[in-house]
Each structure stands twice: as C-alpha cells, then as structure tokens.
C-alpha cells in the first residue's frame, strides 16, 4: 500500500489560496472552518515564501496520542482520520497538533467546541464509502473514487503535491535537480539520454 503524503514546494507556491477554496467547496466545510490554509512568511519582503498547510497525516500523530476518547485511526494508506460520533470536542488535538489542523465549529455558549473537523486527505470517514452520512460529516471521499486530494489537483503551479509518498518524493527530487536554471546533476544530460 502506498503511504499518502502532502508536500508543498515553497519555491512554487504563489499564495493564490486556490487549494483552500477548492477544499472548502468540495467538502462543504462549515462556516469558520478551513481545513487548509496558506501561510506566508516575510510577507511583502524580498524572499517571502508561502506554504499551503493542512493535516499532514503524521505517522506518530500527536492528535491521536492525546485524544481522551481515542477517536482517531490511521488507514492502510497512512491517512489519519477520526470518528465524529466519538469526538467530544475537547480541543486536545488542536493543542497537540504542530500544524494547527484540527478545527471546531463553535456550537454553543462561551466558544464551546463542536465536533472536530480536519483534512481527511479526501478520504471521508468511518462510514461506508459515498454514503450520505459520510458526505455530510466528512465531505467527499475522492480516494475511494480512485482520485487524489482536490487541493493538489487544482494547484496551478503544482506547488502542492499529494499522493503516494514515494512518487511525491520522486517528483520533488526531480524538480530539485533541475532547479536554478539548469540541471544540478552535472553531466547527466550528456551522459544519459532518456
């Protein structure tokens, strides 16, 4: 099984927020919740860089480790999902997550949290694939349709890559070797014609 990974190429991201918008629309995410966001460091200064960030589907996921009700599970493809029927909206996963992925719709008094919502790698939830319940709680299940996450698919500069970690790494490695105007792999163009 492939191990699903996200990668955002800082040299390519132009902070268009297309991924954010596509995700929000695809999954009909509630008001106030954004499963993905673009963060720009040194905004407006020379050398500014942007990164699109969402749940990174960690191997040793901090959210899963601190969840008091153990509502997280990792699929065979390495996607970290959670069961909203079990989630109690305590906020612990948000405290633990390095990437600020877990989001909560405000559900009541004093900012009390509703069921946590986060990026599913377009892989839905524990309900049967493509069931109405799954769509309503977690959004579309594109992985079950044989498709990859929409955020990466719509990315105009292909800064955001999503899919089999090995393939993502290969694409990125290939890019890095050709960066800065000419290949950094000295002699390859002459030596290996392929």
């Amino acid at each position: 099984m492939a191990r699903m990974k996200f990668l955002c190429d800082t040299e390519r991201c132009i902070e268009c927020n297309g991924c954010v918008t596509a995700c929000k629309n695809e999954h009909q995410v509630p008001w106030g919740v954004n499963r993905r966001r673009v963060v720009t460091i040194d905004d407006g200064e020379p050398g500014e860089r942007s990164i699109s960030v969402a749940c990174m589907h960690c191997s040793d996921a901090p959210c899963a480790a601190v969840c008091p009700v153990d509502c997280f599970y990792t699929t065979e493809e390495g996607v970290v999902l959670h069961d909203k029927d079990i989630c109690i909206g305590c906020g612990y996963c948000f405290y633990a997550c390095p990437f600020g992925a877990p989001q909560y719709p405000q559900s009541g008094l004093f900012g009390s949290r509703g069921k946590m919502d986060k990026c599913t790698f377009c892989a839905g939830g524990p309900e049967p694939d493509h069931s109405l319940e799954e769509v309503e709680k977690y959004g579309r299940n594109r992985l079950a349709e044989g498709k990859l996450p929409l955020c990466a698919e719509v990315c105009a500069t292909k800064a955001l890559l999503a899919g089999d970690g090995d393939k993502v790494a290969d694409i990125y490695r290939e890019r890095v070797t050709r960066r800065e105007g000419r290949p950094n792999t000295w002699g390859w163009n002459t030596a290996y014609k392929d």
């Binding site: 954004n34 966001r37 963060v39 460091i41 990164i51 009700v69 997550c97 600020g100 989001q103 900012g111």
Partner: protein, 345 residues
C-alpha cells in the same frame, strides 16, 4: 618512435593563445575570490534555511484564512505538552494517588480508627453552623464531581474504554466534559467563600508546630492542643488556598476558549491544572480518610453540626475552652426532648 614523437612548435601564435588563456583563467579565479570575499563580507545566509528557522521559532506570518493562530505555520510546544501529559503527569499522577490510597490503607491497618480516649459525655457543642455545613458539602460534592470527570478525561482512555467500548465511553466522556466545564466555576465560588469564611481560623501559630511534632495524635496516644482548626486542617486549607487558586485560574483559561487565548497559554494552563488537581485529589483522600473512618466522631460534626464535648476536648481543646468561656450553648444530643436546656460541663 621518432616518427611518432613530434616536439611542439613554439610559434608566436601559440604563445599568444596561451597568454590569453592564462589571463582569462586568472581573471576567472580572481573573480571567484572576489565573490567569496564579498559573500563573507555581507554574511549571506541560505534564504531557505532562514525561512525554516523563522517557521521553527514560531514566527508568525500572514494567512488569508482568519482564525485562531492561523498565521502560525508550525507550533512546537504541542509536542512538549503531549509528552508531559501522556508521560510524567499521567504516570506519576496515577502513582501518587495509588500510593496515597495504599498508605492510608496501611495506616488504617496499623492504627485503626482514632477513637475517643474517654467515654462520650452525651453533651454536644456546635462545631459547624448550618451555612458552614452547606458550604462544605456544596464544595465537596462539586470537588468529587470534578475529580471523577477530570480523571475520566485523563485516564478513561486507558481504563474505561476497555470496559465501556469506544461508543459507550464517548457518551460518558461528553457528559464528563460538560459537567466538568459547568461545575468548575460553581466550585470556584464555593472555594472563594470557604477561603474568606475560614481564613481567620487558619492563620498558623505556635500550637501548629507542636501538633505536627506529635503527628496530630494520629501516632501514639498523645492529644496535642489545637484551636478551632488543628494544624492538619490548616495545611489542607492552605493547600486549597494555593493549589485551589492555581486550579481555578488555569481552569478558567481552559473553560473559556472564546477569548482566543493562544495554544501555548492553554497548554501551560492544562499542565498546571492537571498537576495541581492531582495534588489536591491526593490530599483530599487524606482529608476524607481522617474525616470519616480515620477519626471517631469527626464526620458527625460536619453532618449534624454538633460534636460531643469529649471529642471537642480531645481534638480541639483550646477551641473548646474558648467557646465554653464565651458561654456558648452546650446541649444534650436530643434537642427535641431536652429543648431549651443548657448545661455546663
């Protein structure tokens, strides 16, 4: 061999070409040196490394997505919080509470109930008035509710999920969360009133040192002198004063996320809350032990409000003398048959 070997002709054209080549090469080397020198002079760093350094130092950027800390790319403190909560706090917290329980059990086996040294006189004095009793039990019930719901959120995953299953525990945990969040502020009200009401009785003095040196009469047959509050009660009071204040403040930080407090503050509040609450729970086990099975006649004071004069003389002699001198009422235990009668022992 000679036919194959032809020495180079040193024609002027060739010499000129070599000179040009040498010139260009040396110029090139010089320019490289120049670049290196200017590079060192300006102390250029790797822009990508700089970028990640900013990210790792929790430098905030800009994000079009508004919300709590959306402009922070990576927060490093969450992992520290996770390690502390799941590691030492959960482990040593459980060990401390288990150790306290075992120590109390062992002490009970060794000492048994601290009984009254003399037979009951049958006469009683008022130890806790109605408001004090209501306040005590109001705070106590909330404390126990908060303790059980809090412990369920910390240890329920390990202890209760195997018993109730994920769905069952989730239903229970969501009740725990709400009870904990709502009971908390009510507990704080009780705690504050309690601290104000009993403050003047809990100021430490000389008698407390002697009381501690004699282990409060719990070991041996001595009965150290005490005023209305003995040194043990004072220790519990000041623990509630300081740890209670910490638990209350950190609890409010956790309870009201609508003020958009940052995660680092929430993590700190959570760690403080967990550590102090575990200390309070452990201390409360001792308090509950002494107030119930540990000491004969202690519980009836907080239930009925009145204690036997023998008990008062044994445990709080200075207080007993004080109220006797003030001429407060001392009465028989059955007010319905002996109403209106007052006796002096």
């Amino acid at each position: 061999m000679n036919t194959l070997y032809r020495p180079r002709s040193s024609s002027p054209a060739r010499i000129g070409l070599a000179a040009v080549l040498i010139l260009f090469t040396s110029l090139g080397i010089l320019s490289v040196f120049n670049t290196l020198e200017s590079g060192y002079a300006a102390e250029e760093t790797n822009p990508r490394a700089d970028y990640w350094r900013l990210v790792r130092s929790n430098e905030n950027g800009y994000s079009a997505v508004t919300g709590r800390e959306t402009n922070e790319l990576i927060q490093g403190s969450g992992e520290v919080w996770r390690q502390l909560r799941n590691g030492p706090i959960a482990t040593y917290g459980a060990l401390l509470m288990l150790f306290t329980l075992l120590a109390l059990g062992a002490f009970y086996l060794y000492r048994g109930k601290v009984e009254l040294g003399h037979p009951r006189s049958g006469d009683t004095v008022e130890r806790w008035n109605k408001q004090e009793r209501i306040l005590h039990w109001y705070t106590a019930v909330l404390f126990i509710l908060l303790a059980f719901t809090g412990l369920s959120l910390l240890y329920g995953r390990a202890v209760l999920i195997p018993l109730l299953g994920h769905d069952g525990f989730s239903s229970y945990a969501i009740i725990c969360k709400w009870v904990h969040n709502i009971a908390g502020p009510f507990f704080i009200v009780g705690l504050v009133v309690m601290i104000l009401l009993w403050f003047k009785h809990n100021i430490p003095d000389k008698t407390d040192i002697k009381w501690f040196l004699e282990f409060g009469g719990m070991i041996g047959d001595k009965h150290p002198s005490a005023k209305r509050m003995n040194a043990g009660e004072k220790a519990w009071f000041w623990t509630l004063f300081f740890a209670g204040a910490g638990v209350a403040i950190s609890g409010l930080v956790l309870d009201f996320p609508n003020f958009d407090q940052e995660r680092e503050i929430i993590q700190l509040a959570h760690l403080t809350h967990a550590i102090l609450a575990i200390l309070l729970m452990s201390f409360s086990l001792g308090h509950i032990y002494i107030g119930t099975i540990g000491t004969e006649g202690a519980l009836e004071g907080m239930v009925t409000g009145r204690v036997d004069t023998t008990w008062a003389r044994q445990h709080h002699d200075l207080w007993y003398e004080e109220i006797r001198d003030q001429g407060k009422s001392v009465s028989s235990p059955m007010p319905d048959t002996t109403e209106g009668q007052t006796e002096t022992p």
